[in-house]
C-alpha cells in the first residue's frame, strides 16, 4: 500500500479494486464468524466465568441468586480459635481433593501410556499388507464405536465378581485362586478402569498413528533394505522419528480426554475413593453434597491444572498441530 501511494496520487484502478475486494472479504468473514463466536461465548466463555465467580462465593445449589462474595475462603482459610489453635480449611489443604488430583494424573498417564504403545502396535499391524486387512480394521473400530456408558456396562458385567466371564476364565487358567471383585475392591478398581479405558480408546490412537504411518514414503524402507538395516533398527531410526509428530498430537488429544474423565468412572466404579477423579469430585460436590461453591472452586482448579499440563506439553514437546507442514 505505501509503495503504491508514494508512486502516484491516484493508485491504478486494478489495485483499489483488489484491496476493496479484500476488505469486503474480511468484513464478510467476520460476519460469518459472528454466530459461532456468540454461541461459543454463551456456552463456554460465560459459564466458565460464572464458575470462577461461584468459586469465590458461598453459592448453594438451591439458591444461586443469593450467592455472597467470600473471597478465597473456598480455596484457603485460616481460623484462630479462642484457645489459640489454628484451623485451616479449603481446597488447597483438602487431602480428598489432592487424592482426586493424584488419581486423575495416575489414570491419565497410565492409560495414555499404554494406549500409545498398543496403538502403535495395532497401527503397525494395520499398515502391513496382508489378506483380510480391511476386516481387521473394521474389527478394531468396534470398541471405538461403542458408547462409553455401554462399554462401561458391558465390562462391568464381564468383570462381575460372581457371574463375570473374566473371573471364570482366570479361574480356569489358574491365574487367580478365588473370584475377584474387580470393580469394588480397592486394589483392583483402578486397574479395572484402566483396562476398559485402554480397550475403548486404543483404536483412536491406532487410527491417528496409522494416518501418520501412511504418510511415510515407501522408498525410504527400500533404501534401508538395500543398505541391510535390521527391521528393528529401521523402526526406531526411520519409522518412529517420522511418525513422532503424529504420535505427539494423538497423545495430547487423548491426554486431555483422560484428564477430564467422568462417565466411565461414575458408572464402572461408583463411590470408590481409589478411582475418584477430579471431574467426579466436582460433580459430587456440585449436585450431590450441596457444596456448590466448593465444587466450583474444584472445577476452577481442575481447569487451571489441565491448562497448565497442556501448555507444558505443547511447549516442551514442540507439538505442531499442522502435522509439520
Amino acid at each position: 500500500m505505501t509503495a503504491e501511494t508514494s508512486f502516484s496520487q491516484a493508485p491504478p484502478p486494478e489495485a483499489t479494486r483488489r484491496s476493496r475486494l479484500t476488505a469486503q472479504r474480511i468484513r464478510s468473514a467476520w460476519i460469518f464468524l459472528t454466530p459461532m463466536m456468540l454461541a461459543l461465548a454463551l456456552v463456554a466463555g460465560w459459564p466458565l466465568f460464572r464458575n470462577i465467580y461461584f468459586s469465590f462465593t458461598d453459592a448453594s445449589l438451591t439458591n444461586l441468586g443469593a450467592a455472597q462474595w467470600i473471597g478465597f475462603d473456598n480455596y484457603y482459610s485460616k481460623i484462630t480459635l479462642p484457645s489459640g489453635r489454628e484451623i485451616t480449611s479449603g481446597l488447597l489443604v483438602d487431602p480428598e481433593w489432592w487424592r482426586a488430583v493424584g488419581n486423575t494424573l495416575r489414570f491419565a498417564f497410565l492409560s495414555v501410556g499404554f494406549e500409545t504403545v498398543f496403538g502403535l502396535i495395532v497401527a503397525l499391524v494395520l499398515n502391513a499388507e496382508f489378506k483380510g486387512r480391511a476386516l481387521v480394521r473394521a474389527a478394531v473400530l468396534v470398541p471405538w464405536a461403542i458408547p462409553t456408558i455401554v462399554s462401561a456396562k458391558i465390562w462391568a458385567w464381564m468383570l462381575n465378581d460372581q457371574f463375570g466371564v473374566i473371573n471364570d476364565v482366570f479361574l480356569k487358567l489358574g491365574l487367580i485362586s478365588e473370584k475377584v471383585a474387580w470393580t469394588a475392591s480397592p486394589d483392583t478398581a483402578m486397574t479395572a478402569v484402566l483396562i476398559v479405558d485402554i480397550w475403548k480408546t486404543t483404536p483412536f490412537m491406532a487410527l491417528l498413528i496409522l494416518a501418520g504411518l501412511q504418510m511415510v514414503p515407501k522408498d525410504i524402507y527400500e533404501a534401508a533394505k538395500i543398505d541391510g538395516v535390521h527391521p528393528v533398527k529401521q523402526f526406531f531410526k526411520i519409522t518412529l522419528p517420522l511418525i513422532w509428530p503424529a504420535v505427539m498430537v494423538a497423545v495430547i488429544f487423548r491426554l486431555l480426554d483422560a484428564l477430564r474423565i467422568f462417565d466411565l468412572i461414575y458408572v464402572l466404579t461408583p463411590n470408590n475413593a481409589q478411582t475418584r477423579t477430579m471431574s467426579v469430585a466436582v460433580r459430587e460436590n456440585l449436585f450431590d453434597f450441596d457444596n456448590f461453591a466448593y465444587g466450583s472452586a474444584q472445577a476452577t482448579m481442575l481447569f487451571f491444572i489441565i491448562a497448565l499440563i497442556t501448555i507444558l506439553y505443547i511447549t516442551l514437546g514442540r507439538v505442531r498441530f499442522d502435522g509439520g507442514k
Partner: protein, 287 residues
C-alpha cells in the same frame, strides 16, 4: 533363514487374531448375554446357548427406554444441524480468508473443543436450570429438563469440532474454484452456498456423523440437566437402569438395551469407515 521367517509369520497372525478377538469379544459377549433366558443369565457360557427375546421385550415395554432413544435422536440431530449451520460459514472464513487474529481464533476453537466440560458445569447449570437462576431471571426462559437444555450445552463440543474439521477440509480445496466465482462478482455468501456447499457434501457427512456420535454418547450434561426419567437420553437411561429391587441389577435388560443402541452405531461406523477415519485424522493430525 526359512525357520525364523515362518515364526515371524505365525507370530504376526497370532497378533492379528489377538487384536481381533480383544476388539470384538466384549460386544459378542453382550449379544450372547442379551439373548439368554433370564434364568440362564447367571451361568457363564461362551457360546449362544439359547435364543430368547425376553430381555428385549422387557426393556422395550417397561420403563422409558423407547422414550430415551427418541430423546437422544432429537437432541443429537438438532445439535448437529445447529453446529453445521454455524460451522460451515465460520469454516469458510477461517479457511479461505486471511485476516488478523485468525490464528488466535483457531487456537481458541481448538481449546474449547478440548475443554474439560466439568469446568463449565456450574455455569451451564445456572443458565439452563429453573428457580431464581440467571437463565430465568434475565432471559426469562426456563430450559430445565427440556431437550433444549441439552442442545444448548452440547454446542460446547459439537460446534468447535465441526468448525475445526470443516476448516481443514476447506483449506485443502484449490484456490482456482473460488477465483472464478470472485471474478464473476459473486458475493462471499454466494461463494459459500453455490461453490463450496456442493463440494463439501462428503466432509459434511463425515463431520455430521462424528458430531452425532459424540452427542449420542454424551453423559455428564445429560445426567445433570435432565431430572425426570422420561427426559433422559440413552446413556443416562442405561446407566440408571434398575431392577425391581435396589440390589438386583437387571443385567439381561442392560445388555439388551446396550445391543439395541450400539448396533446401529457400529453399522454406521463400518459403513462410513473410510470417511470416519479421514474425519478423525483431519481433526487430529492434519489439523
Amino acid at each position: 533363514m526359512a525357520v525364523p521367517k515362518i515364526i515371524w509369520r505365525i507370530g504376526f497372525w497370532l497378533l492379528v487374531a489377538f487384536i481381533v478377538f480383544m476388539s470384538v469379544f466384549p460386544f459378542y459377549y453382550a449379544i450372547v448375554t442379551s439373548f439368554k433366558k433370564p434364568s440362564e443369565i447367571f451361568q457363564v457360557s461362551y457360546w449362544p446357548t439359547s435364543f430368547s427375546l425376553e430381555n428385549y421385550k422387557s426393556v422395550l415395554t417397561s420403563g422409558d427406554f423407547l422414550r430415551n432413544i427418541w430423546n437422544s435422536i432429537v437432541v443429537a440431530v438438532s445439535v448437529v444441524a445447529l453446529a453445521m449451520l454455524m460451522g460451515i460459514t465460520a469454516a469458510y472464513a477461517l479457511a479461505r480468508v486471511r485476516f488478523r487474529g485468525r490464528g488466535a481464533l483457531l487456537l481458541i476453537i481448538l481449546g474449547v473443543s478440548m475443554f474439560p466440560q466439568v469446568a463449565v458445569l456450574s455455569g451451564l447449570f445456572e443458565l439452563v436450570s429453573g428457580v431464581n437462576n440467571f437463565g430465568t431471571r434475565i432471559l426469562g426462559i426456563n430450559l430445565s429438563n427440556t431437550h433444549w437444555a441439552l442442545v444448548f450445552s452440547y454446542t460446547i463440543f459439537t460446534l468447535p469440532f465441526t468448525v475445526w474439521v470443516l476448516t481443514t477440509f476447506m483449506r485443502d480445496l484449490p484456490m482456482e474454484i473460488e477465483e472464478a466465482a470472485i471474478v464473476d462478482g459473486a458475493t462471499p455468501w454466494q461463494i459459500v452456498s453455490k461453490v463450496f456447499l456442493p463440494l463439501m457434501w462428503p466432509a459434511l457427512v463425515t463431520t455430521g456423523l462424528l458430531a452425532f456420535i459424540a452427542a449420542w454418547n454424551e453423559f455428564l450434561f445429560a445426567l445433570t440437566f435432565t431430572s425426570s426419567a422420561s427426559m433422559r437420553t440413552v446413556p443416562v437411561g442405561i446407566a440408571l437402569l434398575s431392577g425391581s429391587t435396589q440390589y438386583e441389577v437387571p443385567w439381561g435388560n442392560i445388555m439388551a438395551a446396550s445391543v439395541i443402541v450400539t448396533l446401529p452405531i457400529i453399522l454406521l461406523v463400518l459403513a462410513f469407515q473410510r470417511k470416519i477415519v479421514s474425519g478423525l485424522t483431519a481433526g487430529g493430525v492434519k489439523g
